[in-house]
């Protein structure tokens, strides 16, 4: 039994690793996405932009205390109409003209304008507030830190679902599965080999992507690598198993692609690959729990960003294990070597 599983496992690994185009795509795309998105959002996303109406190009900080405010980008404008249009479109949070007859323009529908206005008015206030100030130090969680688990999870999802689901359908369509069926190989041995092969490949690829981005972007890692590795293994098994369920009987690559996309897209949108679901309605957050990727990303982010321990992420690991068991049992039950 183990010999047969290993033979299929080894052949599938060779097939994947020698397909240079697919391998390169699997490695380059996630890294390119990481760099691209990190660069695009590298500026302080919460910085305010305030226009200063003046004829001079250079803004003199000494002109007014407001101009010393941190985390505000001050931009000089000499044309009132242009600057007002930018305020109307929320491209400027506030427009101020200092000097005699000082005045400012604000769009009342702009949330950032509201806070920029408070900062402006506070800068002229002399009233001392009777509130104790305490400082907490710590590095900010950058977008790259937050994004890396998402990119790794997304790559894992595509690789597991398409790399297994699509390939099994192709094998079935071109008769390779029929050829295997004529041997003593059993469905469970074939499935075990596919799961193991994809798990090893995705762990290799994920390790490469993680190491590359971690070294180059200095991403945050607060927890244990062992726990993160465990999440990756359990997560990969659940996603591969899901791919096997989809491909268990399908004989058309087009249909398989459609079904896989039907799972991929909601999972990618609702599992928190690109943005957090913290502010989403309760029903959406509850629905997102049916996806393995939600548990993978929540657990990975908890380990990488907050230093969560194995015990902390064990509910996610248990959920993934239960999902894997259900998907594998269902996949083995409905699996067909050939067309119906």
């Amino acid at each position: 039994m183990w010999n047969r599983i290993y033979a299929i496992f080894q052949a599938r690994n060779r097939e994947f690793l020698r397909d240079r185009a697919s391998l390169s795509w699997n490695l380059i795309l996630p890294i390119a996405l990481m760099f691209g998105l990190s660069f695009a959002f590298s500026n302080d996303r919460d910085a305010y932009t305030v226009g200063i109406l003046q004829s001079a190009e250079e803004i003199m900080v000494d002109d007014h205390p407001f101009l010393e405010t941190q985390y505000i980008n001050f931009v000089a404008y000499d044309d009132l109409d242009t600057a007002m249009r930018k305020v109307a479109r929320h491209q400027l949070d506030l427009l101020v003209e200092f000097g005699d007859g000082a005045r400012y323009w604000i769009n009342p529908e702009s949330p950032k304008g509201y806070f920029a206005e408070i900062a402006l008015l506070q800068s002229e206030s002399t009233v001392a507030l009777n509130i104790e100030k305490q400082q907490i130090s710590g590095d900010a969680v950058g977008y790259a830190d937050w994004l890396l688990p998402g990119i790794l999870g997304m790559n894992m999802m595509f690789s597991c679902l398409f790399g297994v689901g699509y390939v099994v359908v192709r094998y079935r369509k071109n008769g390779f599965l029929k050829r295997l069926r004529a041997t003593p190989l059993t469905p469970i041995e074939f499935i075990a080999a596919q799961v193991a092969s994809r798990m090893v490949l995705i762990l290799m690829i994920s390790t490469f992507i993680y190491t590359g981005t971690h070294l180059l972007l200095d991403t945050r890692m607060e927890g244990s690598y062992f726990t993160l590795f465990l999440i990756a293994i359990v997560g990969a098994i659940s996603l591969v198993s899901l791919g096997l369920v989809v491909s268990a009987r399908v004989t058309s690559e087009e249909l398989a692609g459609g079904l896989l996309n039907l799972i991929n897209w909601p999972m990618m949108m609702l599992s928190g690959v690109w943005f957090s679901l913290e502010g989403a309605p309760e029903a959406v957050r509850t629905a997102a729990n049916v996806f393995p990727l939600t548990h993978i990303l929540d657990a990975a982010r908890a380990v990488m960003l907050d230093g969560a321990t194995l015990a902390d992420v064990s509910p996610a690991l248990i959920a993934l294990t239960i999902m894997s068991a259900i998907f594998l049992a269902l996949g083995a039950r409905i699996f067909r070597w050939g067309p119906m």
Binding site: N3, Y6, R14, E15, A182, W337, G338
Partner: protein, 294 residues
């Protein structure tokens, strides 16, 4: 010789179609048994049911007297009509992978020699020619030292040299003691390789036996062939068959001299007359018809 394989009352229904209709036959150990028939006759479905890769609506398959099961899977070698192999995998790796799936294992060097694959071992499966690919598929069918080998239309699409090369291979396998079940629609192939044949059409077996026995039963004597264009008179007094689509007339006779005497007044050019032994193609066409199948 014991019966290696027996198919009993095999039936396969698809919606609106009876692909195999109560097919029974047996194959003695050590022979090459040919299952012949036109395209769509049900040969491949029958063989795939026997191989265990397609389920039958009803019927049973016995291997050395037992219901075909795990022992059959370990001891049978199969070459399908259309099998894709994995991309980016070499010939050697393909053979080794399939060999590992069996507990009965052939010596890998013997297979490589037998199938003349020595020079192709490191070649990617995708880069094999048709003949090379068929030799590899045969090698894959031999990895478990099979006692019974299924060859499903193994020479379809091969050039004449590759076909003859493949025939030599099959004969050497049979000489080594394996039983072979060959499906083909090439009658010359069946005539060269098969000890016994069964001819199928429309899901049924029309006839079965050794080629010599079947030809003897069907034809008494020789066949005289003459082109229709050389005919100058009426042949109504002579028993004959006209094949308009081939442009020939056939007369089956046990007395060639007498038949030639009867024919000569009605034929413009006697040099065009051919006299030959009936062959499997004649039998096949007589049983399955001369019209083109959809």
């Amino acid at each position: 010789m014991p019966i290696a394989l027996e198919a009993r009352n095999i039936v396969k229904h698809y919606p609106g179609v009876i692909a195999v209709d109560d097919v029974s036959f047996s194959v003695r150990e050590g022979i090459c048994f040919g299952l012949l028939g036109p395209n769509g006759a049900g040969k491949t479905t029958t063989v795939e049911i026997i191989e265990g890769v397609t389920s039958a609506t009803s019927g049973e398959v016995f291997y050395y007297g037992e219901i075909a099961g795990q022992r059959f899977k370990q001891e049978a070698g199969i070459q399908f009509q259309n099998t894709a192999l994995q991309d980016y995998i070499t010939v050697r790796e393909t053979i080794e992978m399939f060999r590992t799936l069996y507990t009965r294992q052939a010596n890998i060097d013997d297979i490589i020699e037998q199938c003349s694959l020595r020079d192709l071992l490191d070649r990617d499966n995708r880069k094999l020619s048709g003949g090379q690919r068929q030799r590899l598929l045969l090698a894959v069918a031999l990895v478990n030292r099979p006692r019974l080998i299924f060859l499903d239309e193994p020479t379809t699409g091969l050039d004449p040299q590759a076909r003859r090369n493949f025939w030599d291979l099959v004969q050497s396998i049979r000489a080594a003691g394996s039983t072979i079940l060959l499906t083909t629609h090439y009658m010359d192939e069946a005539q060269v390789l098969c000890d016994e044949i069964a001819i199928m059409d429309s899901g049924k077996i029309m006839t079965q036996g050794s080629p010599e026995e079947l030809l003897r039963k069907q034809y008494e004597g020789l066949i005289i062939e003459l082109p229709i264009s050389d005919l100058t008179g009426d042949l109504s007094g002579i028993e004959h068959t006209v094949y308009d689509n081939l442009g020939i007339i056939e007369v089956v006779t046990t007395d060639v001299s007498r038949s030639l005497q009867q024919l000569s007044p009605h034929v413009s050019d006697l040099n065009q007359i051919k006299i030959r032994q009936p062959n499997l193609e004649d039998l096949f066409l007589d049983l399955t018809g001369h019209t083109l199948r959809a």
